[in-house]
């Protein structure tokens, strides 16, 4: 009984932390929404500069990775250790591909002179500067979350491998998974708001 209560407490603690993350990104979304309602035309022009291909690809990658993390929890519960390891490794690979895509996406933007403080943005219309400022802050902060999530998944992978995470004791995997799903959840809102307002 004591073990069960412990698990519940750990999970509730993780959720409480996730709420602070929701409010953090929520505040950035409000900032975006207010400026979007003020300068819809500039934001639409800004969104047209974004590469929908990268946006869709990264959305699919994150959805698949979330599925893999959820599958790893099912696998651990079913004592299928190898499937759990494979699923976690797959999710990690998805995170890495996401970041590589982000590198190319940002790299291209910087190449054509769209980056914070660039001449093109400073000399152009101010609201477009705002759009790309928000784009870099929100996707950058999200990217940092991907990196942290990958570290957590890697820790889970090692713990499953060393049999420290088992069907009876999977709170760490549960919580790392929750974090990863939240990162996916935030991207579910970033994607339409930035890439699809064209």
């Amino acid at each position: 009984m004591a073990v069960q209560r412990d698990q519940t407490g750990k999970k509730l603690g993780m959720w409480l932390f996730l709420y602070t993350e929701i409010i953090l990104f929520g505040a950035l979304f409000v900032l975006y929404a207010v400026y979007f309602s003020w300068y819809p035309q500039d934001f639409i022009l800004g969104a047209k500069e974004l590469d929908l291909g990268f946006g869709v690809t990264n959305t699919v990658i994150l959805l698949v990775s979330s599925f893999l993390v959820a599958a790893s929890i099912t696998a651990v519960q079913n004592d299928q250790r190898n499937i759990a390891l494979a699923a976690l490794a797959g999710a990690l690979a998805c995170g890495a591909v996401f970041l590589v895509n982000k590198y190319f996406e940002w790299g291209h933007k910087i190449e054509i002179g769209i980056y914070p403080g660039s001449e093109r943005l400073l000399d152009g219309p101010a609201p477009q500067n705002l759009f790309f400022g928000l784009y870099y802050v929100v996707t950058g902060l999200h990217g940092i979350h991907i990196v942290i999530g990958m570290v957590l998944l890697a820790v889970s992978l090692v713990l499953v491998f060393s049999r420290k995470i088992t069907a009876q004791n999977d709170a760490v995997l549960d919580n790392c998974g929750l974090y990863w799903h939240l990162v996916d959840l935030i991207w579910i809102f970033i994607f339409p708001l930035f890439y699809l307002v064209v």
Partner: protein
């Protein structure tokens, strides 16, 4: 409080992944149809549907207990207050 009974099968998880990918296609497709200011709302409704699927199935929200469900909904409620009041303020400046 039995743990194992709340675990989703691979098939369920796969079906949810399929639904999420389909909704991604729908939201991309819908963005090409110009319905003015409604576009943003359609995108947000689809995003909320996707988020709900992730929360309920991938994040096991139901089995996480009443405390999690209530506190999560409270967070959404306070987020709505934050968004609503800021827009209220902005609209009457």
């Amino acid at each position: 409080m039995e743990h194992a009974s709340h675990i989703f099968s691979y098939k369920t998880l796969g079906l949810v992944l399929g639904a999420l990918l389909m909704l991604t296609g729908v939201t991309v497709g819908a963005s090409y149809i110009d319905v003015g200011w409604l576009n943003v709302w359609i995108a947000l409704v689809i995003a909320s549907a996707k988020a709900s699927l992730v929360l309920v199935v991938f994040m096991h929200m139901k089995s996480a207990g009443k405390g999690v469900v209530v506190s999560f909904l409270s967070t959404v409620f306070f987020l709505a207050i934050m968004i609503g009041f800021i827009f209220w303020d902005v609209a009457f400046r």
